[in-house]
């Protein structure tokens, strides 16, 4: 899979904030020095700053509390960015390395873990500068393999389980919360796509509209589709002037595409079966969904689908395999009491 992370990944991280950004501080009597803080106090600061993890939209303080209870051995800063175009974790990690490493140390202290790592996706092929082996004294681990790499992270650190995975941007915000008592009022967003004149990573204020972000980077063309999130799993944005970016927004992508009606039919090539990371058979699942034979979906274990979208990506007939499966899965979960317990 082409990564298309250039040039956004190497461009400097620009701030794009509104006027009240500098005043977004909270009141606290706690110290701003790392060494003088107890673990509970760090978690308290994270709560006061309202930091949200950009990986899953979970409040950071709750994740830290859980991790502390589980007595994790490792804290991994997730800067994987395995989807093409998106570099909104790697870029801040490189450009704000001291803050990211500082946040990681704070998280280590808060959870009582013994080790910390950065995790970066290995298969980024179009990098100009190499990603360093260590960053501010913290080892950078590379996650290998094909596209859906993020869900495999736990396997790569299997020897050191249990572990806590925290997004890099949340860690940067944690560092700022401790050092400056700053509320999380911004988020790191990649603005890219083949319509964007200057693809780059922005630190944008929460509440900016998608239109504003695209204007900041310049549109070279009238975009056919605007996507919030990564190109594989993101959501198409219907009204960019009314949609705002939030803490869990990782990318805003604008694409121009040919709208030719192709009318391909499935030729049964089986590429979707070959590429499925969960070893499922999307070909048959899609076929049975199209024919309305929902009772067969149990046999083909539709509940194990992780929704990575690879099957649609490789489909030479350009069928909406992943979207069909997602819809069918949602309909099933609405109807039934739930699928397999381990349907992660």
């Amino acid at each position: 899979m082409e990564q298309y992370k250039e040039p956004a990944i190497n461009r400097p991280l620009r701030e794009f904030v509104n006027s009240n950004y500098p005043g977004m501080l909270f009141e606290s009597s706690l110290s701003t020095e790392e060494d003088e803080l107890e673990p509970q106090e760090i978690i308290r600061l994270a709560e006061l700053a309202g930091i949200v993890d950009e990986r899953d939209g979970e409040p950071l303080y709750r994740k830290l509390q859980k991790a502390a209870q589980q007595q994790v051995r490792v804290v991994v800063a997730d800067a994987i960015d395995d989807e093409p175009y998106v570099s909104s974790q790697i870029n801040p990690m490189l450009k704000c390395a001291p803050q990211a490493a500082g946040g990681l140390r704070l998280a280590m202290k808060a959870t009582g873990a013994g080790k910390v790592y950065f995790a970066v996706y290995k298969n980024i092929t179009d990098l100009v500068h190499r990603i360093p082996k260590t960053l501010e004294g913290v080892t950078v681990k590379r996650i290998r393999g094909r596209y859906p790499a993020e869900f495999r992270t736990t396997d790569d650190f299997a020897k050191e389980a249990p572990l806590a995975l925290i997004g890099v941007c949340a860690l940067i915000h944690l560092y700022r919360a401790v050092k400056e008592h700053r509320i999380q009022s911004s988020c790191f967003v990649t603005v890219a796509g083949n319509c964007v004149a200057n693809p780059m990573n922005l630190e944008a204020s929460v509440g900016m509209t998608v239109d504003q972000l695209l204007e900041r980077c310049g549109l070279a063309d009238d975009p056919g589709r605007i996507i919030i999130g990564g190109p594989m799993t993101g959501v198409a944005c219907q009204d960019p002037s009314a949609t705002v970016v939030g803490p869990a927004t990782r990318a805003v992508l604008a694409f121009k595409e040919d709208v030719k009606e192709r009318r391909y039919q499935c030729i049964g090539c089986g590429k979707c079966v070959d590429c499925c990371p969960e070893n499922l058979t999307p070909f048959y699942i899609n076929k049975y969904i199209e024919r309305g034979r929902m009772e067969m979906l149990d046999f083909y274990e539709i509940d194990r689908c992780i929704g990575c979208g690879t099957c649609s990506y490789v489909c030479p007939a350009k069928l909406d395999v992943a979207a069909n499966i997602k819809a069918a899965k949602a309909a099933r979960q609405k109807n039934s009491t739930g699928g397999l317990p381990d349907a992660g």
Binding site: L165, R225, A236, Q238, P240, Y264, C269, T281, Y313, P316
Partner: protein, 337 residues
């Protein structure tokens, strides 16, 4: 602003059904070049006639089924070009026309058209004409002897080495000629070097899968090695069995047809091996000398069954191997919440 709902993923691989079919067409061109080199312009004329009738039959069938023909659908072209390559260059024009029309109108469209057919159209068409006119389909002109497009054909037609094998005789062909396909045989499928090049091209372009052809060729070679039909050394037996007819061609172009082959790698392996065994059994005990097409039609009917039964196996594998991973991921989810 946007009329239709746009679904994730929003980027797609460039390969399309059209480019896949185009790759197969490109891979067929060298075979036509070889056929023209061996038998003159008549080979091209046969290909053109078959191509035209296949496309015409396809368009008519699509209209009959109440759809619009899709100009991006090249599957009928592939079928039309595959069929004449398995026939002798001396065959009358109505034979490839019949085969192509039968392939499209009887084997492909009644089952639902592109992507739905259970049996390989090209194999079906070839099987039909070889049942109808075995004397025309299984007697071949000598190579390096240009045949006229119309008019009188040389009366001197020969049997192929595959026929000698069927009678239990040792074909009298030079090894190099066998490799280069310079013997009386089907017009476009005898040159093993060109075939291998086409195979590599298709593999490189990912237009076909490698499992089914590999298992097929391996199985046929193994049977030919273990149970030689003719009194020669085992390796010679393998060479004669594999190179004397449409076997390699069928393994590469017909067996790996994406529509009719199974979808899982493992089931493709089983499928190819079954097809190989069926081909050799039909050769040993059947009435025809070229049996790969018949064997393929036979095995095609097992495609769905293979996939379905092997899915059971994969369910167990998922439980055992991936279940562990899912368990760990589950723990991570618990941790996250």
């Amino acid at each position: 602003m946007q009329a239709k709902e746009l679904k994730a993923p929003h980027i797609r691989l460039k390969d399309s059904a059209r480019s896949t079919m185009l790759d197969v067409l490109i891979a067929l061109l060298p075979l036509y070049f070889m056929a023209t080199y061996f038998y003159g312009a008549r080979a091209l004329a046969l290909g053109g006639v078959s191509l035209l009738s296949a496309v015409a039959a396809d368009v008519i069938c699509v209209f009959l089924s109440g759809r619009r023909p899709n100009p991006r659908d090249f599957s009928a072209l592939v079928t039309g070009l595959l069929i004449p390559l398995m026939l002798p260059a001396s065959v009358p024009y109505y034979v490839p026309v019949t085969a192509a029309v039968f392939a499209i109108a009887v084997v492909k469209h009644p089952f639902g058209g592109v992507g739905q057919n259970i049996f390989n159209p090209a194999a079906g068409g070839f099987a039909f004409v070889s049942v109808c006119w075995p004397s025309l389909v299984f007697s071949y002109p000598q190579p390096m002897f240009s045949l006229p497009i119309t008019g009188e054909l040389p009366a001197r037609l020969a049997e192929s080495p595959a026929h000698a094998l069927m009678l239990g005789a040792v074909p009298t062909i030079d090894k190099l000629d066998l490799m280069l396909g310079k013997f009386a045989g089907p017009m476009g499928v005898t040159n093993i070097l060109v075939l291998a090049t086409c195979f590599l091209y298709l593999l490189f372009r990912r237009a076909i899968n490698w499992q089914a052809p590999a298992a097929f060729l391996g199985m046929t070679a193994a049977i030919a090695y273990l149970f030689p039909r003719i009194p020669v050394s085992r390796s010679e037996s393998v060479a004669f069995e594999l190179l004397s007819g449409t076997l390699v061609f069928a393994g590469i172009f017909l067996l790996s047809d994406p529509v009719t082959s199974p979808k899982r790698g493992l089931s493709r392996f089983v499928y190819g091996a079954l097809a190989g065994a069926a081909t050799m059994l039909l050769r040993y005990y059947g009435g025809f000398e070229q049996t790969a097409a018949f064997a393929l039609l036979l095995v095609n009917s097992f495609t769905l069954l293979l996939d379905h039964e092997l899915e059971r196996l994969f369910r167990i594998v998922r439980r055992a191997v991936l279940g562990f991973r899912a368990y760990r991921r589950n723990q991570r989810i618990i941790k996250k919440v």
